[in-house]
Amino acid sequence: MRSYANNLAPHSIRVNSVHPTGVNTPMIVNDAMQEFLAQDPALSNALANALPIDVLQPVDISNAVAWLVSDDARYVTGVTLPVDAGFTNKK
């Protein structure tokens, strides 16, 4: 992302990344994942968000994508944008 942001900036092409915490999709909400987490309560605790929100909805990530690609963000490039309910800041 950072390399492409640099390479493409002269062409006014912006490149950013979004960094979700757990999102309510089949990739996370499935039997295998539930079984894996059930093995050890510490795992679930380690994955808890700062905000009192268990899981984000897909639209929360979509809203970030929609903002980044819109002209509202016309000078935003090379940015890592967490959409993570404060998860990474909690570490």
Binding site: N63, D72, A73, Y75, V76, L81, V83, K90
Partner: protein
């Protein structure tokens, strides 16, 4: 009233002009009422003319023209008592606060060797302590509202070193630490806290003879125009633009303040035309 922040009330410091006025207008366009404060006065260590009561009156006029309510009060972010009284007065009139924009900031320059204690102290007092005061005064009101969004204005200089502005860089880095801590402390109350990191913004803080001198010490004062300086400012950015406009920062404040960003907290959001990731050369 429709809009992305309809029904909300925003508290904005440094709202008389520049980015703060732009935030007030942009948030009002999307349905928010505004509590605006500004020092409307001069600090001796600041090498350009600061805001005036007329500037704040113009912000009031522009927000009211959008059919939104605004309470505007002259207050210095360095003085917690006055700032808190101003906010409390605004909340008494507009009933709540959901959004906080800690925007008030100053700029001056000198190498670490040259900076005076006065320059250092004024910078820390306005650009860091003032931000803390703003959040501190607002927290009880945000809790009462059942949650909210605090946006701290840092700078690309809050995430990287820059020669000649060690005090500004230090204060703006401090804002990041404050943001991260506030985000943790306030998450259980659903109060989100993030920082914005602009590159050069086209405002009076940059478009003045003192800032021009910093970027073009080699040119005679008469030749330091915005047109001549543009390419030098542009050299900071990856995108081929000299500076961003105040509305570009307002659009980031609006996004973070809105429910579109309901689960974004603890984030440093550059609006910097790629200046932070730009490789030299």
């Amino acid at each position: 009233m429709s809009g992305r922040v309809a029904g909300k009330v925003a508290f904005i410091t440094g709202a008389a002009r520049g980015q703060g006025r732009s935030h007030a207008i942009r948030l009002a366009q999307e349905g928010a009422d505004i509590i605006a404060v500004d020092i409307c006065g001069q600090l001796d260590s600041v090498p350009y003319a600061m805001s005036t009561p007329d500037d704040l009156a113009e912000t009031v006029k522009e927000v009211e023209a959008l059919d939104r309510r605004i309470v505007a009060i002259q207050a210095d972010v360095r003085d917690y008592g006055t700032l808190k009284a101003a906010l409390d007065d605004g909340v008494a009139q507009l009933e709540r606060v959901d959004i906080v924009s800690a925007n008030a900031g100053i700029f001056s320059f000198g190498t670490a060797e040259e900076l005076t204690d006065e320059q250092w102290k004024d910078m820390m007092d306005v650009n860091l302590m003032g931000v803390w005061h703003t959040a501190k005064a607002a927290i009880p009101h945000l809790r009462a509202a059942g949650g909210g969004s605090i946006v701290l204005t840092s700078s690309s200089a809050g995430l990287m070193g820059m020669a000649n502005i060690g005090h500004y860089v230090s204060a703006k880095h401090g804002v990041v630490g404050l943001m991260r801590t506030l985000a943790l402390e306030l998450a259980p109350d659903m109060i989100r806290v993030n920082s914005i990191h602009p590159t050069t913004v086209n405002t009076d803080m940059i478009q003045n003879s003192a800032a021009y001198e910093l970027f073009a010490p080699d040119l005679p004062a008469g030749e330091r125009t915005a047109e001549v300086l543009g390419p030098r400012f542009q050299a900071l950015n990856a995108l081929p633009i000299p500076w961003v406009e105040p509305v570009d920062i307002s659009n980031a404040v609006l996004f973070l303040a809105s429910d579109e960003a309901r689960y974004i907290t603890g984030v440093t959001l550059p609006v910097d035309a790629g200046s932070l990731v730009k490789t030299p050369g």
